[in-house]
């Protein structure tokens, strides 16, 4: 039987399996599979999250599982004491660790993430996923880039203020600490057997900052974040566009997988990557809430027609909103399974 890992490895090599790989990023939906009362309850135990991930992968038949609980977990590892849970969407960071520049000086980066008490449930989740599907279905982890992590620690507007108008020494001190955290987080996930690490960096997108800024200022930090190598790293800008940046990232950093924005042109992205890596075409999953099943089918067909030629292509979603009806998730996957066959 062909597994998700077989499909991914075939795609990386430019070979054909039965169909293209499908990365379907369902996180919060796990609570429904387990019949728990709330997302708050669901995210309290690694066993719950692992079970949710395994059940959803089994139920829908896509090719990946996630060790990520929610993005704010990184902030918790760095001292965040309050997360705002919602009944129907991802939790938000409510307590910002950095309220003043002194807090930046005092920010401590954990030496040992794996044995950090805040990581205990993720560790359990990862161990279960590894035991149950390791080697057969790619286990995904999520790491926020040094340039984006401050937004989780101080809020995006305060980070913009420091980044563009603040004292350069304070800004660089924070970036250095965030980069160290990023490196340690990546190392921890790799040690625990994570296969695919989504390296999330909205500041690597031209929707966020100008291209010259990315090349001059962003790229050195990305290099530092990824100094241990780019094996398994996926370039992702939080859904923001980055087709214009791909050439520089390939030549300067060497990342081999690009998780495009739904707003990027898939054919153009693939043309720029030009066989030097894997391209993921990503559906606009916010539209999946209201689209009809036929609209979804046509959109998937369009995307795959743009991306499948020449192989080295997979289909993906962003973090799928909780409100997407199950029938629409199935419609999307059925269409990928149909049109994504070789």
């Amino acid at each position: 039987m062909i597994t998700g890992m077989d499909r991914l490895v075939a795609a990386i090599k430019g070979e054909k399996a039965d169909r293209i790989p499908v990365f379907c990023n369902l996180l919060d939906q796990g609570v429904k599979e387990l019949g728990l009362a709330s997302l708050h309850d669901y995210y309290q135990l690694g066993e719950y999250v692992a079970e949710g991930q395994l059940k959803m992968r089994e139920k829908y038949g896509y090719d990946n599982v996630w060790s990520l609980f929610y993005v704010g977990k990184e902030a918790e590892l760095l001292g965040c004491r309050k997360i705002l849970f919602s009944p129907d969407g991802p939790p938000n960071v409510e307590h910002f660790v950095i309220q003043s520049y002194d807090d930046i000086h005092n920010l401590e980066i954990p030496d040992d993430i794996i044995h950090h008490p805040v990581f205990a449930e993720e560790l359990k989740c990862l161990q279960i996923l590894k035991r149950e599907v390791g080697g057969r279905y790619p286990i995904c982890g999520y790491v926020t880039a040094s340039m984006a992590l401050p937004a989780l620690l101080m809020g995006m507007d305060k980070w913009f203020e420091l980044l563009f108008m603040g004292p350069p020494d304070v800004r660089d001190e924070l970036l250095a600490k965030c980069s160290l955290f990023c490196q340690r987080h990546i190392a921890a996930l790799r040690e625990l057997g994570v296969d695919v690490i989504v390296y999330a960096n909205p500041f690597g997108s031209t929707d966020f900052v100008p291209l010259p800024y990315i090349i001059k200022t962003g790229m050195p930090w990305m290099k530092q974040d990824l100094s241990a190598g780019t094996q398994g790293i996926v370039y992702y800008c939080g859904g923001a566009r980055f087709n214009q940046v791909i050439e520089s990232v390939i030549s300067q950093i060497g990342i081999e997988t690009y998780y495009l924005s739904p707003l990027d042109d898939i054919a153009t992205g693939k043309q720029i990557i030009n066989g030097r890596g894997l391209t993921c075409g990503v559906i606009n999953d916010i539209k999946l809430i209201d689209w009809s099943e036929e609209q979804i089918r046509q959109e998937v067909k369009r995307m795959l027609a743009a991306g499948m030629a020449g192989n080295k292509f997979l289909f993906g979603t962003i973090l799928m909103p909780y409100k997407i009806p199950e029938r629409n998730i199935r419609a999307m996957l059925d269409a990928v399974y149909e049109f994504g066959q070789f």
């Binding site: 969407g89 991802p90 100008p210």
Partner: protein
């Protein structure tokens, strides 16, 4: 003639996100005898309107440019207004905040800066704002616009967010007096979403929100 040069130099500095240069241009103009009133009404506002027009014509400005343009403009405006001969009249008042359950502040800050530079009074309620607080404050402060920023689709669509504000406006028969504008990432991803949440208008970015809100205010003044 001098004002044309000031507008050009100031706009270029804003485009380059060079705050120090923008202030240098303004301070030089003041030293040459340009009044603070002219700086606001003949430099800052026209420059902001030029940027809004450029964005509407597909100029692909990024978030950093939006942020810096709004911050520079509002900081220059604050500095100049403090030097006005008489207190300036604002053209309207807006209550702004992030939707219930949403802690993301950047979009709201860009919009607020842009509005202040357009001489629109802004009451910022912060983050995670309840529908009641939006409506009560708009009433208390005689604001004609409620602006709701959402970064996440579930906070945009939540029954406690814009939909609840709409419901309160209906219940209290305030729909003619108070209009709702929404913005933030989910609305960019789904351009029909503002109708789903029953807003009167939406804007695709923080700078364009300035124009949409100004137009709404002008329409309500008719």
């Amino acid at each position: 003639m001098i004002l044309e040069k000031v507008i050009a130099a100031y706009s270029e500095a804003v485009f380059d996100t060079d705050r120090d240069k923008a202030f240098e241009v303004i301070h030089e103009a003041i030293a040459q005898g340009v009044t603070p009133e002219d700086i606001v009404f003949k430099v800052v506002i026209p420059s902001m309107e030029q940027m809004i027009k450029a964005i509407s014509e597909d100029f692909d400005a990024n978030l950093a440019q939006h942020f810096m343009a709004s911050q520079i403009a509002s900081q220059v405006t604050d500095e100049m207004v403090a030097q006005f001969q008489t207190s300036p009249e604002t053209i309207g008042r807006v209550v702004i905040g992030t939707s219930h359950g949403d802690m993301h502040t950047l979009g709201k800050r860009i919009v607020s800066g842009c509005l202040r530079s357009l001489m629109i009074d802004v009451i910022d309620l912060g983050v995670n704002v309840s529908a009641e607080r939006f409506v009560d404050t708009a009433l208390e402060q005689d604001a004609g616009i409620i602006a709701i920023s959402s970064m996440m689709v579930h906070t945009a669509r939540s029954e406690y967010s814009c939909l609840a504000v709409r419901e309160l406006l209906k219940q209290r028969r305030l729909e003619d007096r108070i209009k709702i504008i929404v913005g933030g990432a989910p609305y960019t991803w789904d351009r029909e979403l503002y109708k789903v949440v029953q807003a009167d208008a939406w804007a695709s970015d923080g700078i364009s929100a300035g124009k949409v809100i100004k137009d709404l205010i002008m329409e309500m003044h008719k």
